[in-house]
Symmetry: C2
Subunit: 257 residues, 2 copies
DNA sequence: GCAATAGTGTCTCTTAGACAATATAGA
DNA sequence: TCTATATTGTCTAAGAGACACTATTGC
């Protein structure tokens, strides 16, 4: 023990310049949906949004930034990000994923800071509760398209771009769409969510492929009530639509097969 | 300017405990191939290997570890990793990719260190030159299967596992296979490389799929000589095989289509 | 009946998957 | 000729892609 302590203190006796902090920044995405004003039932308009906060202190005082904070020695980066997420949005237990580190010298005027970037996907229904509590002037959801054009603090513009690219890729290759959907949803809702995140997405025979092709149909299963009958919803349509839920099945993708 | 400096010094006046360094560790993979001793021409035996170094100092003195080093304030993590890679292997300009950060408290007895993990893919022909120069006792390639069973320094066992999972996924979804192949190669070589990294991989009609199905044939193109004639190789076979090269085309993958 | 969404029929062309068969050339 | 790899033939079932068509139900 003494040996170890001595070694350790020997080691850190100022031979190296050390970082001035270990920040974690979080790109919090949500999909806002707005009922369209129409006499008939119709699908809502959906929009991908990102949560930004207005900085109160130097540097970049008054500018918008990604939520984040400093990690302490006694927690992992993930725990730090979870803590920040809870503070900013009041939500826990949601999809939170580390995706990159930002280490460009000079990226932070406060000193040498390597930022650890996470993205989080939050269902708007869970975000809604919290929003009323906040000072709307300091914490705000922005449409992603708009946020990308804003001048953000630090290199947060680049972080946002990277996060968006990542969730666009994952939206098509994993089942993260479920983060933006209720437990049970219709095929149209799923399609809309995918389209909202990846505007280029187009799949003419979507319903058929997802429900009846052998290689993919394992992704979803029909929702059934306690009697085992199929559950339908007519929330967005005159004709009731079948409700589905995600299974745990995740097809393996390959460019070679 | 003065204002900024004053703010900065104000900021860092010991309010937070700061990390004791910013290390980058690199998981360097290569595929070693060994000609089989057979009278007839036959495909070599291939094996995925990882480069480890034996630690000379406390902590974990004498144990094997991933190569790595401390990042300086004036470089990015990538530059740091590139520098380390050059020092350990003598190679530059190869596939180097950041994949995770390791921040478990207590992971490094020297203090609070968040390790930034990269993986690198090196063609054995480029590694061969360097190996003679090194003291074989301190830098060594291990079969990955063996390295996974060794007790490595720090949390390098976990880092190695994660890196392996990542390149297995990427082997099937991107064209990183080319990192382990010469510019021009035969279909069998490509198949072997994929199989070496992902043992479960099996594709009965591989040659046909990769060369003649519409959705995938863009990945490869036939190699041709200056006259425009097809180039063949009989290095591994009696009957000469068509040589191919990767194009820049990268199919988009989706679980929904 | 109209509007708005849900879902099916149908047709053609391509691909998957399994195996057998043929091709090539050095030893 | 034998051996080891390369490449094509063939057949069936499944899927892709396009579009027209039917279904449902509140207004």
């Amino acid at each position: 023990m003494n040996q170890e302590r001595e070694n350790a203190s020997n080691y850190s006796s100022g031979r190296y310049r050390t970082p001035d902090g270990a920040p974690a920044d979080i790109v919090i995405f949500t999909i806002a949906s707005e009922e369209r004003k129409s006499a008939k039932k119709s699908l809502p308009h959906r929009e991908l949004q990102v949560l930004l906060i207005r900085r109160k202190n130097w540097p970049f005082e008054g500018m918008w930034a990604l939520p984040g904070g400093f990690c302490s020695e006694s927690e992992t980066l993930r725990e730090c990000a979870q803590r920040e997420l809870l503070e900013e949005t009041g939500v826990e237990d949601i999809h939170l994923e580390y995706f990159n580190a930002y280490s460009e010298p000079g990226r932070d005027p406060r000193g040498w800071m390597i930022s650890h970037a996470f993205f989080a996907l939050v269902n708007e229904t869970r975000l809604a509760r919290r929003r009323a509590n906040d000072d709307a002037a300091d914490v705000k959801l922005f449409p992603v398209a708009q946020a990308l054009e804003m001048s953000l603090s630090f290199d947060h513009g680049a972080i946002l771009r990277d996060a968006l690219a990542r969730i666009q890729e994952q939206m098509l290759t994993t089942t993260i769409a479920k983060q933006f959907l209720p437990e049970e949803f219709t095929i149209s809702e799923l399609y809309q969510v995918i389209e909202t995140v990846v505007p280029e997405f187009e799949e003419k025979n979507f319903i058929r492929k997802i429900t009846s092709t052998q290689s993919r149909k394992g992704i979803l299963e029909e929702a059934r009530d306690s009697d085992g009958d199929l559950k339908l919803s007519n929330r967005y349509s005159q004709r009731a639509a079948q409700l589905y839920r995600f299974t745990n099945y995740r097809p393996k993708l390959s460019i070679y097969s």
